[in-house]
C-alpha cells in the first residue's frame, strides 16, 4: 500500500520533545523517533511502552541457577561422591557452601548473555543488518520524527500546519510503496 512519510528533523532534543507533545495532543500519531542518544521522557509522549527485558534477565538467571544446581549435584553427589580429604560429598545441601561461587557465576553468565541476545534479536540489530535511520545525521546531532500518513485520522495539511511553528530544521516527505 502506498504511504507517505513525513520526516521532521530537529537540532535539539528538547525542541523535538515539545513538538512531539504538541502533535500528540492534537491527535497525531508519531510512529518513530530517531536520535543519536536516548531522549529522556520521549517514551510516554510517543507511546513507547517500557521494556520487559528486566523480567527476561531474571528468568534467564533463574535458569542458570537451576542448571548449575542440577549439574553440580549430579557431578559431585549423585554420579561420583568425590572424596576430598576423606570427606565425600554425601549430600548437596550439607556441602552447599562450596557450590555457591559457581552457582553465582553461572547465574550471572546466563542472565547477562540471555538478556543481551534477546535484546539484539528484539531490536533486529545483528551483524549484517542494514541501518534504517532516514538520515545519517541522526547518529550525530540531529533528531528525526517520523509521521506516517496512513496512521493519521487527519490530512496532510493539518499536520503541516501543526509542524509549522515547532522549530524543525528540515522537513522531508517520502512516498513508499
Amino acid at each position: 500500500m502506498a504511504d507517505k512519510i513525513i520526516y521532521a528533523m530537529y537540532g535539539d532534543d528538547e525542541v523535538l520533545k515539545s513538538s512531539a507533545k504538541k502533535l500528540v495532543s492534537n491527535g497525531i500519531k508519531i510512529s518513530e523517533v530517531y536520535s543519536p542518544f536516548p531522549i529522556h521522557g520521549i517514551d510516554p509522549i510517543i507511546g513507547v511502552k517500557g521494556t520487559r527485558l528486566g523480567i527476561m534477565a531474571f528468568l534467564y538467571g533463574l535458569t542458570g541457577l537451576t542448571l548449575a544446581t542440577i549439574g553440580m549435584r549430579y557431578f559431585m553427589v549423585v554420579e561420583w561422591k568425590m572424596n576430598i580429604g576423606g570427606k565425600p560429598n554425601f549430600s548437596y545441601v550439607e556441602n552447599i557452601l562450596a557450590f555457591i561461587p559457581v552457582s553465582f557465576e553461572f547465574t550471572v553468565l546466563c542472565a547477562a548473555h540471555g538478556m543481551a541476545i534477546t535484546y539484539l534479536l528484539l531490536n533486529r540489530t545483528l551483524p549484517g543488518m542494514k541501518a534504517q535511520n532516514p538520515d545519517p545525521r541522526t547518529t550525530d546531532d540531529k533528531f528525526v520524527m517520523e509521521i506516517r500518513l496512513s496512521d493519521q485520522s487527519v490530512g496532510e495539511d493539518k499536520i503541516d500546519e501543526l509542524l509549522k511553528d515547532t522549530g524543525f530544521e528540515e522537513l522531508e516527505k517520502k512516498i513508499t510503496e
Partner: protein, 462 residues
C-alpha cells in the same frame, strides 16, 4: 534534563555542541594515524611477539623452563595472573558500579577503561592456561564426561571456581562493552566515506538506527547489566583470593583476603587507567572530556582503596602475632626481614605511603604527579602478589626444603610479552574504536557541559 549544583565543576570543558563531541571522537579514527602511533605500535608488537615466541618455546619444552622448583611450585606466573586480573577490575567497576551510583564522570572514561579491562583479563587468562603445560587439553577444565570413568572436575576446588569466575567476568564484560559500542559504531558508520571503512563499521554496528524503542531497551539493558556486573566484579577477585585463602599455607590462610584482594584490584586497576588515559587524552586531544576533575576523582578512589590495602597489610601483620600461631608469625616475620625483605618493603612503600599523598589537593590534581604515582602503584601491586605468593612458600615446615625463587629469562619474557600484547591491543582499540562513549557523553552535555552551566538560564526552573 538533569541539573546539578553550580559549584560542581563542569565535566565537559569548552563550548561544545553535540556535533563537536562526534567530531572530537571520530576525527582521530578517520584521520591518518600519527607517526607516533606507528612507532608505539611497532614497539608493542615486537615485545608482544617476543612473548608469544617464549610461550611457544615453553609449550614445546615444558614448564621446566620457568624458575620453579620443588618448594616453589607457584611463583612468577600466578603473580602475573593475579596482577593482570586486578588491573582488569577498574573497567567494569567504572562502568557498572559508577552507573548504579549515577556518577556521570564515568562516561568520559568507561569505554577505554572497559577495553583495558578486557585486554587485561585476556593477559591474565594466558598464565593459568600456559601453566597447564599442555595447552591443548585446556578444555579439561570444563565439566565434560571423562573417557576413563565417571570422574568430573572438582566443583569443591577454588581453582575451578576461578575458571568459572574469570570466564564469566571476561564474557560479561565483553558483552557490556560491546552493547555500549553498537550505537557509537553507527555514528562512525554514518560518517564514513571510504567504502571499506563504511562496510566494516556497518557490520560492527549491527544496523543500529537509534529508534526510540531501541534506546528504551538499551538503557534498561545497560542498567541490568550493571546490576549483574557489580556483584560480579566483587566476586571475581574474591574467588581469586580463595585460591590462596582456602589453602593451609601460613601467610595465605587468612579470612581477610577477599576484601583485601578486591580493594587491591580496584587500586591497581585505577592506577592503570590513569597511566593509559593521561597519555591518551593528550595524544587524541580529548582534554575537554577527560580533565583534571576526572583525574582527581580517580585519585580519590586510589587513595581510598590504597588505604584499605594499607589497613589490610597492618591487620595481617598484627593478627599473625596476635593469633599465637608460630608458623603464621614466622611467615610474616620472614616477609619483612627475610631474604625477600626488599620486595616486602617495596610493596609497603608503593602501596601504603604513596596513595596517602593524594590527601593533598594540589598533588591529586597534578597530572604529572598522578602519572608518576600510577606507575608506582602498578609496581607496588605486582610486588604485593609476588610477596604473598613467593615468601609464603619459599620457607616451608622443613628447613632442608627451603629455597629461593629466581625467575628464568622465559619467565621474564612471558611477562614482558603480555605487557607488549596488552599495549598492542590497546593501541588498536584507540585507533579504530570510539574511545569515548559518544552517546553517553552527549546525554550529559546539557547537564554538565561548561557552556550550558555558565549560561544565565541554566539555574532557572523549567
Amino acid at each position: 534534563m538533569q541539573k546539578e549544583a553550580a559549584i560542581r565543576e563542569p565535566l565537559i570543558l569548552g563550548h561544545k555542541t553535540y556535533h563537536d563531541v562526534t567530531e572530537d571522537v571520530c576525527k582521530p579514527i578517520e584521520d591518518k594515524a600519527p607517526r607516533m602511533w606507528y612507532i608505539l605500535f611497532s614497539i608493542a608488537l615486537v615485545i608482544g611477539l617476543y612473548g608469544v615466541g617464549s610461550i611457544c618455546y615453553l609449550l614445546g619444552t615444558g614448564i621446566g623452563v620457568w624458575g620453579l622448583n620443588k618448594t616453589i611450585g607457584w611463583a612468577w606466573d600466578i603473580t602475573n595472573f593475579v596482577w593482570w586480573v586486578g588491573i582488569g577490575h577498574a573497567g567494569t567497576l567504572i562502568s557498572a558500579v559508577l552507573l548504579l551510583f549515577r556518577q556521570k564522570w564515568r562516561m568520559a572514561i568507561n569505554r577505554s577503561a572497559e577495553a583495558m579491562t578486557i585486554f587485561a583479563v585476556f593477559m591474565a587468562g594466558t598464565f593459568p592456561l600456559i601453566h597447564m603445560g599442555r595447552l591443548w587439553v585446556g578444555y579439561w577444565v570444563l565439566p565434560l564426561p571423562n573417557h576413563f570413568g565417571s570422574l568430573w572436575v572438582n566443583f569443591n576446588s577454588p581453582l575451578l571456581w576461578d575458571v568459572f569466575a574469570i570466564s564469566t567476568y571476561l564474557s560479561v564484560s565483553l558483552v557490556f562493552w560491546y552493547i555500549g559500542l553498537i550505537p557509537d559504531f553507527a555514528t562512525i558508520r554514518d560518517r564514513a566515506k571510504k567504502p571499506v571503512a563504511k562496510r566494516m563499521y556497518s557490520i560492527l554496528s549491527f544496523g543500529w538506527s537509534g529508534k526510540a524503542k531501541h534506546w528504551n531497551r538499551f538503557e534498561l539493558v545497560s542498567l541490568v547489566l550493571a546490576g549483574l556486573a557489580t556483584p560480579l566484579v566483587f566476586s571475581v577477585h574474591s574467588i581469586v583470593s580463595f585460591d590462596f585463602a582456602t589453602s593451609v599455607i601460613p601467610g595465605w590462610h587468612t579470612t581477610i583476603f577477599p576484601p583485601y584482594f578486591v580493594a587491591g584490584a580496584v587500586f591497581s586497576g585505577f592506577a592503570m587507567v590513569q597511566t593509559l588515559l593521561l597519555v591518551m587524552r593528550k595524544a587524541m586531544k580529548l582534554e575537554a572530556y577527560i580533565h583534571t576533575k576526572h583525574v582527581e576523582y580517580m585519585n580519590i578512589v586510589i587513595m581510598v582503596t590504597g588505604s584499605i590495602v594499607g589497613t589490610a597489610y597492618i591487620t595481617e601483620l598484627f593478627i599473625s602475632w596476635y593469633s599465637g600461631v608460630e608458623y603464621e608469625a614466622y611467615a610474616f616475620l620472614n616477609r619483612a626481614t627475610g631474604p625477600y625483605w626488599w620486595a616486602y618493603w617495596s610493596m609497603m612503600t608503593c602501596n601504603v605511603i604513596s596513595p596517602q599523598l593524594m590527601w593533598i589537593r594540589k598533588l591529586r590534581r597534578s597530572l604529572l604527579f598522578t602519572f608518576f604515582i600510577s606507575i608506582i602503584v602498578n609496581i607496588g601491586m605486582w610486588f604485593e602478589r609476588y610477596v604473598i605468593i613467593v615468601t609464603s612458600i619459599h620457607r616451608d615446615y622443613i628447613p632442608a626444603a627451603w629455597s629461593m625463587h629466581y625467575p628464568s629469562h622465559i619467565d621474564i619474557a612471558v611477562y614482558i610479552g603480555t605487557i607488549g600484547l596488552f599495549f598492542t591491543f590497546f593501541l588498536l582499540f584507540a585507533r579504530y574504536f570510539p574511545v569515548l562513549a559518544l552517546n553517553e557523553v552527549k546525554t550529559i552535555l546539557k547537564g554538565s557541559g561548561q557552556s550550558y552551566k555558565e549560561s544565565p538560564d541554566y539555574h532557572k526552573h523549567h
